[in-house]
Point group: C2
Chain length 393, copies 2
Amino acid sequence: MSKPFMFEKPIGMRDTLPQLYEAKNQIRQEMKAELKLWGYQSIETPTLEYYETVGVASAILDQQLFKLLDQRGNTLVLRPDMTAPIARLAASSLKDVSVPLRLAYDTNVFRAQHDEGGRPAEFEQIGIELIGDETSSADAEVIALMIASMKKVGLTHFKIAIGHVGYVNALLIDIVGNEERANTLRRFLYEKNYVGFRQHVKSLSLSSIDKNRLLQLLNLRGDFSKLEEAKELVSNGEGKKALCELEKLWEVLDCYGITDFVKLDLNLVMHMSYYTGPVFEAYSDNLGTPIASGGRYDELLQKFNRPAPATGFGIRLDLLVQAIGIKAKQTQVTCIIYSNERRKDAIELAQQKRQAGLSVILQDLSGVKDVDQFSQGYEDIIYCIGKNGKGDN
Amino acid sequence: MSKPFMFEKPIGMRDTLPQLYEAKNQIRQEMKAELKLWGYQSIETPTLEYYETVGVASAILDQQLFKLLDQRGNTLVLRPDMTAPIARLAASSLKDVSVPLRLAYDTNVFRAQHDEGGRPAEFEQIGIELIGDETSSADAEVIALMIASMKKVGLTHFKIAIGHVGYVNALLIDIVGNEERANTLRRFLYEKNYVGFRQHVKSLSLSSIDKNRLLQLLNLRGDFSKLEEAKELVSNGEGKKALCELEKLWEVLDCYGITDFVKLDLNLVMHMSYYTGPVFEAYSDNLGTPIASGGRYDELLQKFNRPAPATGFGIRLDLLVQAIGIKAKQTQVTCIIYSNERRKDAIELAQQKRQAGLSVILQDLSGVKDVDQFSQGYEDIIYCIGKNGKGDN
């Protein structure tokens, strides 16, 4: 352990400079406006939560949590997601508000990174939670809103992959018999390591029919007609129920007129373990990582003593900006450089322009070491120097 | 140490519910718009920084820092302020941008609380830093912008107390002779414990003339004519230089036409130890705690190898909202409740209304347990149920 350099930031931590900030902020505001149009109310929760409550409920791998101790010896975590804090909120401060409850957030979440792999340890997530509605209409609304808000901010080429946690679970347990073996396979799916999945399936002591069923799971990606194939693979009730839910979901998505954005992916396995039903990820054509994800989690709220079905999504603002690209919409700034005796004129001129909605920098000439260099940063410069009126540009 | 209840939050941590969120957000956006009009560019820095760099430079008491260890054994801190991170940024990513540099931020900062005294451990700060300009014009601009942005968001009854770190230092050292003794007196001033200050002065082994000079310091609060009294108390160069700077500052503030908002307070001693020149605090008539504060810190940037004078302010958004009060400007929301067979109509109606800028909740009737209770939350309800057209309200 060596002392960090003065400029260094912890692993995975990033600065956001003005140009990127403006791009992010524009997208952030447009997206939040859309969430509001759909009746979602914004809330904020603390950056730090107790490990024993929200930390554990968040279901993020322990090694990805930033942990610290408070003075009383309780372990705190930097929130790794917003779903668990909102569940806490819904069960406490908002416990008297009747469901369905529609909440929105825009906040940074934290995941510790262990190497300089470029993955961020802190990123901004904008999302919603729809609590207390178990219908497919709720699942569809969440997906429809995700699509609407991505379109609103100018994303054009993207797709939503929809799966179902219940279906994968049903199929895996049906074939391999226990959770431990199912988890190994789930891990491959989560990592989208299909080669590894195939190899592992081959190594299992199963009938060739069962091996084939497992391998066929990998084919269950495409349009919704794949649901028919999926039905043939499962025999148990949980699996059939999951497919039935997906059919209903598809129907509602069709009412929204957004099925062109949607495809089926029954291999989809999520990072968070609290999901119980339909789950989804959004992909932009030009990015490998999902920009947004979400799904149904019907059992999380009962951990906070307010049992309620729920669904929601979270969008990663950094990836969304990356997918859209930074539009070079820079604010036009006027710079007024003045000398002492013209200060009052300069201040008045600046105030007039600002009142008209223009951005104006007011700069005392004696505060600038190198005027030539400084003035290069501005296209529109007004000099208020010496006795006479406006200087030339 | 007992396990926290599921609903509990760490000491000093708060949730923000929808109504307060809207009030905060409105003020936040208006304030940020004003900073932009004055040519300040927004940036973001990470929540976590190295203790050895930003943590130490921040000059917050160690016991107020939230600390944790990364995997390499480095100590990290949750940023306690934004001045040090911006200094780091100005000296690294922005090192090639010529000064004066005008930066803005809007972020949460963290200060560990050790009891349930109601003081927040996390609060949002909106502020600016003006880097590389040593003139009184820069000090005045920062104060003028602080006033302009507070007026912009509707704060009417407030005052800015202006002091000078150099003056207090010069006077105390001149009389008590060393830093340690000066610090004891400074502590009383920082805590605004004037009774304690007086008692302590009486207990010192000083001439009655010197004791009197110390006690007269407490009188140096009022309008700027107090500068004359202040001159009589100090004999050394540092003290005279400080008063000269305050005179110049006053002159520029007068050009801005804002001296009505300003008073002199030469007792002002700040929390952060990096201040070197004029410092100030903003008070609303209806709150005991300062809403905003700031000042000149000419030595901080050299710790990051980019020596430059600088000044800035930070406003506490929570206190500002408290001072202004929550204006009951709630968004009007229409709720459309529909049955299955009318889903498509309902979705179309909702989409039309949203396109017209209205907030609309679209609710599947079968997703609501208690329709009467749910519908009580909305003034404007449209039922799309059964075969016939719009339901009655």
